[in-house]
């Protein structure tokens, strides 16, 4: 079962993503900040990272930079999520695979996940 890492400090959103993606057939692991996310990345080797942009301890931009700088991780697609406009986020972090503007609808989430993982319908392998 493919693993998705959700890095999100808003507890309710993390729980919702966990529930939805689990129903879609993914194994979901969650972290509340970038640093915990990095720890999980090393252990879980997810096929996809969904990361919030603003978080305590280590934000999404720093997490993304660490992923892209690590040869072992840099190939993992990262979907950046934020309530800020993409243009504002893009100024401060580069290299994400896709962007989701909060608040997003669930079908938008599944669309992006499916697209990034190369599965038009968003279904897990």
């Amino acid at each position: 079962m493919a693993t998705v890492l959700v890095v999100e400090d808003e507890f309710g959103i993390a729980e919702l993503l966990d529930a939805v993606l689990t129903e879609e057939g993914y194994q979901v692991v969650t972290a509340m900040n970038g640093r915990d996310g990095l720890d999980l990345l090393a252990r879980e080797r997810p096929v996809l990272v969904l990361s919030d942009y603003m978080m305590p301890v280590m934000d999404g931009a720093s997490l993304l930079a660490r992923i892209r700088a690590d040869p072992a991780l840099q190939g993992i697609p990262v979907v950046m999520m934020s309530s800020m406009p993409e243009a504002a986020v893009a100024q401060r972090c580069a290299g994400y695979t896709a962007f989701l503007r909060k608040p997003f609808k669930l079908f938008e989430l599944l669309d992006v996940v499916g697209r990034v993982l190369g599965k038009g319908d968003g279904q897990a392998p």
């Binding site: 808003e10 507890f11 993390a14 942009y53 305590p56 301890v57 800020m84 401060r92 909060k102 608040p103």
Partner: protein
């Protein structure tokens, strides 16, 4: 962003209109403050407004939520507010969520998270939204008290001012309320079909503040707080000018009746029933304005368009002054108004433009806006004292309920503020015709003519004619012919 009080403690100004006045200049830097209110009273708007205003002054704000509105939704709601500036996120304002940390690891972890994030972001203010969540999570009261106490330690060590937004209406005697440096309470109460939002500083260490409730509104600019006029202007902002001179009323005969004119920087109440000509007299008073003697018409009942029609009809010279800007019209519908907002708006214009002649048309509107009628007398007294101190010669109209009759009833005791001068306008019935009468009842420090004069309204305003000679008891509205009986018979024409 900050100033200092007499003890050298720096202040964090909120930038929220009216609030810093109530706080005596702002919150004290490095303090911990609870902002509490039931859901929907405006805490989150206030918290964000403080954060954005602080950032606009160069500060760093950290907005941390527990169980509160989702950040995305919050930003959608705030997006239309004028203070919201997305460009300040995240460089100057960061939004974080601490609920997961609190839920999984408890207070110590949340405390450590806040300490680290305040340090990492070099935050100069922290907003903790959803503080009631932390209060409810407390299984041990001691743990929670320690958490609040430790927050205070962090605030002092980092010089970061903290605002804890809580939907719990706390009791002042509880430990956390004892520990914090201040408590601000937002409340909303129903008054029949309408409601009133008020802000009250319940506690504030280290500074004087305006006690009691102050009305506020949530507008597109965020919260706008209106300090109670009688509290903020308990003493006028400056000494009253030593004015011995008089100014022209705009009606020559009235000047003579008042002993040479209207005393400068005085207040004059013009009482009379509806339609008798009070507004017209006010317009004539303003027609004496000039570029270096600006005027203001502050009215409630006649829209600027309707007023302009009236000006053109009964006081054409005022039209030129309106066109040039020497006289301005401030109109506010008397429906759903806020008493202190009226005062604020009026005084702002008088101060900004250096208004020398002011007409307040319809003092009764203040009564309608007074949620607590008991306030009205003190409010109006403070307002009039300030207007005198600002050097504005003020004429205000007050409608009395009876068109004619043997009694002159006060509209309401609360409206009978100490007035320097008093003018009465009445209808009198003589010979089955309603005629109009004007008299001066009081003039500050001056002799005056107490006779009753008849007047008519012409294309140039009020024109005072002779005294009501030959009629006694004219003030009763139903005069008697001199030496005769009460004139109740219709006038007979043609013999």
């Amino acid at each position: 962003m900050s100033g200092a009080n007499s003890t050298g403690l720096k202040r964090v100004m909120t930038g929220v209109p009216g609030l810093d006045t109530i706080l005596g200049g702002g919150f004290l830097q490095g303090g911990v403050y609870i902002i509490q209110g039931t859901p929907g009273t405006g805490k989150t708007t206030l918290g964000n407004q403080i954060a954005f205003n602080h950032a606009a002054q160069g500060g760093q704000a950290l907005y941390t939520t527990l169980l509160a509105e989702y950040h995305a939704r919050m930003m959608q709601h705030l997006g239309s507010m004028s203070f919201f500036d997305a460009a300040r996120i995240p460089d100057q304002i960061s939004y974080l969520n601490g609920f997961g940390t609190l839920k999984s690891d408890g207070y110590p972890a949340l405390r450590d998270l806040l300490r680290r994030e305040v340090t990492r972001h070099k935050a100069t203010i922290l907003i903790l939204d959803g503080f009631a969540t932390a209060q409810r999570k407390a299984s041990e009261e001691q743990d929670f008290n320690e958490f609040v106490h430790e927050l205070q330690s962090i605030a002092i060590a980092t010089d970061c001012t903290m605002f804890l937004l809580s939907s719990a209406m706390g009791v002042k005697e509880t430990p956390e309320y004892t520990i914090v440096d201040g408590i601000v309470e937002l409340s909303d109460r129903l008054l029949g079909w309408s409601s009133e939002s008020t802000l009250q500083v319940v506690k504030l260490r280290g500074t004087s503040y305006l006690r009691g409730r102050h009305a506020f509104r949530i507008t597109d600019d965020g919260l706008v707080v209106y300090p109670r006029i009688e509290a903020s202007l308990a003493r006028p902002s400056r000494l009253e000018p030593d004015a011995a001179e008089t100014v022209r009323s705009g009606v020559d005969r009235l000047d003579a009746m008042m002993g040479g004119g209207v005393p400068a920087a005085s207040t004059t109440m013009v009482m009379g029933p509806s339609g008798v000509g009070k507004t017209t007299l006010g317009l004539q008073f303003l027609s004496q304005c000039a570029a270096d003697e600006p005027g203001l018409f502050f009215g409630f009942y006649e829209t600027p368009a309707r007023l302009r029609v009236k000006v053109d009809k009964v006081c054409p010279p005022l039209g030129t002054l309106l066109d040039s800007g020497a006289v301005e019209v401030l109109w506010q519908p008397p429906t759903d108004g806020l008493l202190d907002a009226y005062g604020e708006r009026l005084l702002e214009n008088v101060r900004r433009r250096g208004v020398r002649r002011l007409v307040i048309d319809g003092l009764g509107a203040f009564q309608s806006a007074a949620v607590e009628p008991v306030r009205l007398n003190q409010y109006l007294t403070a307002l009039m004292n300030e207007l005198r101190a600002l050097g504005a010669t003020t004429l205000y109209t007050l409608a009395v309920p009876d068109l004619t009759g043997p009694y002159i009833r006060e509209p309401a005791r609360d409206l009978t503020v100490p007035s320097d001068n008093l003018i009465l306008m009445r209808y009198v019935e003589i010979g089955a015709r309603l005629r109009r009468m004007i008299s001066v009842l009081k003039v500050r420090n001056s002799d005056f003519d107490p006779s009753l004069y008849e007047y008519v309204t012409t294309g140039h305003g009020l024109q005072i004619e002779g005294t009501l000679a030959g009629a006694d008891a004219a003030l009763s509205g139903v005069p008697r012919r001199e030496g005769g009986t009460r004139n109740q018979e219709p006038a007979r024409r043609g013999g």
